[in-house]
């Protein structure tokens, strides 16, 4: 099981069930997870396709989509930020 966090505009598009997800065994890398998530919810998938976003694994930015997922990882999907 992995924990998924959808921030900003991704939040309202993500089904609640995705917060604690059990992707199939074939989902081995961060890139696989991204593709699998997009398939679970079409509106979220469309937003992910249309928006540059960062992936944060266990509170660290991950640029390498071939990074291997581990059980109990926390993965956050972060759209462009706007604070202040």
């Amino acid at each position: 099981m992995v924990r998924l966090v959808f921030l900003g505009k991704f939040g309202p598009l993500a089904p609640a069930a995705l917060a604690c997800a059990e992707p199939p065994a074939a989902v081995a890398t961060v890139g696989d997870l991204r593709d699998w998530v997009a398939d679970q919810a079409p509106a979220l998938g469309a937003a992910l396709a249309a928006t540059p976003f960062k992936l944060i694994v266990n509170h660290a930015v991950v640029h390498d989509l071939t990074a291997v997922l581990r059980a109990s990882d926390e993965i956050a999907f972060m759209p462009p930020m706007s604070g202040g």
Partner: protein, 153 residues
């Protein structure tokens, strides 16, 4: 050095006063308050909502704060950032910095605000008569970041 994520209103001037109290070796206190406006790009703003990533948001802002404190000789910096629902007139963010001379405090506050506007893990949503929209950094903010000497990206 304090970074606080606040889910309820705060009084920026009272917080600034408490932050600066009793620091008579410091000659300069610069501060900035970002306020929720009742209009944005000509549209009425009924409320804002700020999303954050609990834990991560505070840690990231704290990391940048420490970096900026060292670069500008500001031993003390205070950041308070609201999250959740925010109404017009309420303070969204306070950044305050103490230093011996004014230059360090000015630069620290300014660079932190530039960071918070474009690169801190915060997401702003406006509600107006036409519904909700998520705000992305203004072109001007991104240009400031691109042009900033030694900017944190």
């Amino acid at each position: 050095m304090e970074v606080r994520i606040a889910s309820t209103t705060f009084d920026p001037q009272a917080e600034t006063a408490a932050f600066a109290a009793g620091r008579s070796e410091m000659g300069a206190l610069a501060s900035f308050v970002g306020l929720c406006r009742d209009r944005h790009d000509g549209q009425v703003v009924e409320e804002l909502f700020l999303d954050h990533y609990p834990g991560f948001t505070q840690d990231e802002i704290g990391r940048i704060c420490n970096d900026i404190a060292g670069r500008f000789g500001c031993p003390d910096i205070l950041v308070i950032h609201r999250v959740g629902r925010i109404m017009p007139g309420e303070a969204i963010v306070l950044v305050a910095a103490l230093s011996q001379h004014r230059n360090g405090a000015f630069e620290a506050v300014r660079m932190l605000m530039d960071y918070l506007k474009t690169d801190a893990p915060l997401w702003k949503r406006e509600t107006g008569p036409d519904g909700v929209r998520w705000i992305e950094p203004r072109a001007e903010d991104l240009a400031r970041r691109a042009g900033a000497e030694g900017a944190i990206v």
